[in-house]
Amino acid sequence: MTKSTRQPRTKILINSGMALSNVLEIPTSGFNFENVARNVALEGLLEGGQTKTPKPMKTGTTIAGLVCKEGVVLGADTRATSGEVVADKMCAKIHYISPNIYCCGAGTAADTEKTTDLLSSNLTIFSMNSGRNPRVVMAVNILQDMLFRYRGQIGASLILGGVDCSGNHLYTVGPYGSIDNVPYLAMGSGDLAALGILEDRFKPNMEMEEAKELVRDAIHSGIMSDLGSGNNIDICVITKQGVDYIRPYQESEYKDKRQKRYKYGPGTTSILTEKIVPLELEVVQETVQQMDTA
């Protein structure tokens, strides 16, 4: 029952010293940099050898957006690459932020996903607190703060478009937190090709169908001229009345067809033996509940 006061002391020294570091430092939440030195050392070892470190999945991409008379039109391709391999042929690059704001993301796929998810959660909390749809400038400011805090280590280039009480807006946010407010935009590895088309045919206050065609053409030229973009085209139209997320707006002509069905029909593997064991259940309790059929 009674312990001498000296006993716990010696126990500490013999037990793992992890207890010591836990007394003095509560583990902080957020990013943990303990493994950085180890990773740098590992990369140095692996480069000399045959194996390579796995590359993060990027959305080498073409995304574009423009402001038209009734709202904002956003477009994106659907290819995600991991090094030289196409990792995902139907990647969704247009992310939901709030009922009136959508965001296209280029850069590292995980970074754009997580950042837009966090942004969407924060804006939902705000909407629940204030009872209003958030404004596009609010989303842009939150993103800018978050990305600048991490000094560009989060590789996310985003195009935010939305309709709010002050009009139709289109913003771009770079990985270091730089923003730009423009009527038409393209980002990603195919942005030069897309921007050429947009510069040629953009007019202020375009009609909806014309705007959709222009965005489609811009993404199409990005797909044709850039190896990192390809497959289908997604379009998202945001107006005061609501959002029309057309996925896919246009499928690529180069879809390959499967030669055969690869599902195995029943009877492919032969059954050698069969043993059936009936389970005997006994009734323990029986209750009857009257249904009110009046």
């Binding site: 020294l13 570091s21 007394v23 939440s29 990013f31 030195a37 909390i125 805090r149 280590q153």
Partner: protein, 142 residues
């Protein structure tokens, strides 16, 4: 909110006291987990963001309090800091997980989600402190 007037407050940043090495059993450097020890590893940060993330909350608070003092006078940050100090004392025993509800509400963390809430949640950490040691440390007996 984050970047205005940052320059004038930077010189008061909290100085770093070393990256801290991992101690294994018997209080000696744990080579298996953290590699060979070198002075450079201990003094210099291994990642560009390590220092700035470590001090981020402190620097934010310093900046906000000094802005508040300039706008509203000395009483405003004083009152707020008193409230923070009081809220920080509402905790369970040191080795148990406390929710920090009052402190979070004061700081406004209950209305926002950031990487601190998703990554490395202390309530789900795999290591737990030794209860006796932590109590003794807290009570100043150690």
């Amino acid at each position: 909110m984050n970047t205005r007037g940052l320059r004038s407050q930077l010189k008061d940043s909290v100085p770093v006291t070393g990256m801290g090495q991992q101690v294994g059993a018997y209080g000696v450097q744990d080579t298996l987990r953290s590699g060979f020890s070198s002075v450079k590893n201990e003094l210099l940060p291994s990642h560009a963001l390590e220092l700035s993330e470590k001090n981020f909350q402190l620097n934010q608070d310093k900046m906000n309090f000094s802005n508040l003092r300039n706008i509203q006078g000395l009483h405003a940050p004083l009152k707020l800091q008193m409230e923070y100090r009081a809220a920080r004392q509402i905790q369970r025993l040191p080795f148990l997980q406390s929710s920090h509800l009052a402190l979070d509400t004061l700081k406004g963390n209950d209305e926002s989600i950031s990487f601190e809430d998703i990554l490395n949640d202390p309530s789900q950490s795999e290591m737990v402190g030794e209860p006796h040691v932590m109590m003794e440390y807290k009570l100043g007996l150690m």
